[in-house]
């Protein structure tokens, strides 16, 4: 196990390095940000001066070299837009995103597994049909639509919740609910599908024959094996959220990393793009490692 984690750490470091090289050069391809930062009526000399100030005049390879040198000295560069260290900007935003992702995915996992398993227990039954339709609607509804309609209903008309923002625990209710819907619908379907296969597998039949109770069969025997693809999809959805729930962060005014990343891309604030990708990538790598370890826990036959 230890050697597995060690090996994984090294190979992940290599991927992170590759990711940085990729992102560095690809973002530079999206153009010189000088005109974007200076007012339209700035004279040519101000533009040249800006390029020199931010090292945009150097050849790309020189820029890359100095970036790598700085990163190795734990200096992730300065945000052009915010005139502050890029890493500081990212680390302020990341906890918001992480909290949103962890809470939401926790709830999604819990509810999707319970409801999905129950639906799979009686395929074609009323509960199955109903939860199927609900989850499909959930999986294919645009988030911003739910978010705005939710704000109009629960904040404006009923006055039960604040419209947006941060501060109290009530501020988290709407964003988490909206963020919950889509992965819930998706994962519920995956749980159902994979439970149907698991329930028809020989060992469940054996358990049934031995007279094990229905509930135990579903939640202990079948679930354990049916979980492998489920965990994978949960990981995929969680990765999406760690990269930022852009729509939710934008509408509800959460200062998370998703909105930061999009803004930085649109503003060509390269240091912040790189720093946020490094932070989120690290989180995603760690998550994938945990998922792989979980595979081995759930299915003792899997060895690394």
């Amino acid at each position: 196990m230890k050697s597995f984690i060690g090996r994984r750490a090294i190979s992940s470091a290599v991927s992170l390095g590759g990711l940085i090289v990729l992102v560095f050069f690809l973002t530079r391809l999206t153009g010189d940000p000088t005109n974007l930062y200076l007012p339209l009526d700035a004279p040519m000399e101000a533009r040249d001066n800006f390029r020199v100030l931010h090292g945009l005049n150097d050849p790309l390879i020189v820029q890359f070299g100095s970036y790598v040198y700085d990163v190795l000295h734990l200096d992730f560069g300065e945000s052009i837009r915010k005139a502050r260290p890029a890493l500081e900007v990212v680390l302020e935003a990341f906890p918001w995103t992480l909290t949103l992702a962890v809470v939401t995915m926790g709830l999604v996992t819990l509810f999707a597994i319970i409801i999905g398993s129950l639906a799979a227990a009686r395929v074609g039954g009323v509960f199955d049909r109903l939860s199927g339709i609900m989850s499909l609607i959930a999986a294919s509804t645009p988030e911003f639509w739910v978010a705005i309609v939710g704000i109009f209903i629960f904040a404006v008309s009923l006055g039960w919740l604040p419209t947006s923002g941060t501060g109290t625990i009530w501020h988290w209710v709407l964003p988490i609910t909206v963020l919950f819907i889509r992965p819930f619908g998706l994962i519920l379907q995956v749980v159902r599908g994979s439970m149907i296969s698991a329930l028809s597998s020989p060992y469940v039949k054996t358990a049934r024959a031995k007279g094990v109770r229905q509930r135990a069969i579903i939640f202990v025997h079948a679930l354990r094996n049916g979980m492998l693809p489920v965990i994978t999809v949960i990981g995929d959805q969680a990765a999406g959220m760690l990269n930022g729930a852009v729509v939710i962060e934008t509408i509800f005014g959460f200062p998370g990393v998703g909105k930061l990343m999009i803004d930085s891309i649109l503003q060509r604030d390269f240091s912040v793009v790189l720093a946020s990708i490094m932070v989120t990538a690290l989180a995603i790598f760690i998550m994938n490692l945990l998922i792989d370890l979980l595979y081995a826990v759930l299915d003792p036959r899997i060895r690394y």
Binding site: S15, L29, I133, V190, S197, T232, I265, I302
Partner: protein
């Protein structure tokens, strides 16, 4: 199970008829495909004809004619005609992106799960890189350097969706590999190809198809988000996603602008899913009897 040999299409129709939900779903999908195929030729004009005075006309107002039964958009164009015309781009983008990512992701996942550890690890770390590369950044870069055409959009969406198929397939393969019948097949000297295609794919494919049908919705909505940021399909081209995102500004006054295309996305996803559920039963020898009984047994 002995069958009287019949024309296979007839058998399929009979099996479909046995599941009423799947039947309706299939009819709806046929309608969408017909729209996608011929809609643009017949309704292109109606979908792009400007009428600023009649903007945001409400739905179910029959005085304007059947084209306006779903209302008019913010430039007074028939929403019904636009949904029909947009079906082409939408279906093209979503199906190509899902198909490409499913096939590529599935194949890489099989390799990663069933080949040497070194190759498998390399593929998985590659998936990590793609997974942690924000899809919107990729979209900005690709669409910056190239035109925002249907093809490039498919490229972006397909790449970003590969990891989920890859990781799912690999996870299943790791598990199946250890099952008794696969071990037995290996001991009996079955070829790799035979094990992969004969034993693994039949178990992996249903899961991939479940994810794939749901991904249809995901891709359509992702495309909507791209359009909203000004980097996806651009007007005057239309997709359902674009219509949904353009209607956002009018949610308060004219809900129908984004509601109808949203419904189109939901119904398409739902139909695909019902049909894939049906397909799953048809392909599963253990379950198939349910349908052959004529669908009367609905336990």
């Amino acid at each position: 199970m002995l069958e009287v040999p019949r024309h296979p299409a007839l058998t399929i129709m009979k099996l479909l008829w046995a599941d009423k939900f799947a039947c309706i779903a299939a009819l709806f999908l046929v309608l969408i495909v017909v729209c996608a195929a011929i809609g643009p030729y017949f309704l292109e004009d109606a979908a792009s004809k400007l009428n600023l005075r009649g903007r945001n006309a409400p739905p179910f107002d029959w005085s304007q004619g059947w084209l306006f039964m779903l209302g008019a958009d913010s430039l007074g164009r028939s929403i019904l005609a636009r949904i029909a015309v947009a079906a082409q781009n939408t279906i093209l983008i979503a199906s190509c992106a899902v198909f490409a990512s499913l096939v590529i992701g599935g194949a890489l996942g099989l390799i990663a799960g069933y080949s040497s550890r070194r190759l498998g690890d390399t593929i998985m770390r590659l998936a990590d890189v793609i997974m942690s590369f924000p899809s919107l950044l990729l979209a900005v870069i690709v669409l910056y350097m190239m035109e925002p055409s249907v093809l490039n959009l498919v490229l972006v969406l397909a790449i970003t969706r590969i990891p989920v198929y890859l990781r799912t397939t690999r996870a299943e393969v790791l598990e199946i590999r250890e099952r008794m019948f696969v071990q037995a097949a290996i001991v009996m000297g079955a070829s790799r190809m035979r094990i992969i295609f004969g034993h693994m794919l039949p178990i992996v494919v249903p899961t991939l198809i479940t994810i794939g049908t749901l991904d249809f919705a995901f891709v359509m909505l992702a495309e909507s988000a791209l359009s909203f940021l000004g980097i996806g399909i651009q007007p005057p081209d239309i997709t359902w996603g674009l219509m949904v995102s353009q209607g956002k500004a009018y949610l308060h006054q004219a809900w129908w602008l984004s509601f109808w295309p949203g419904i189109a996305i939901i119904l398409t996803t739902m139909s695909l899913n019902l049909l894939s559920g049906w397909l799953r039963i048809v392909l599963d020898p253990v379950q198939r009897w349910r349908l052959e009984m004529g669908g009367k047994n609905n336990d």
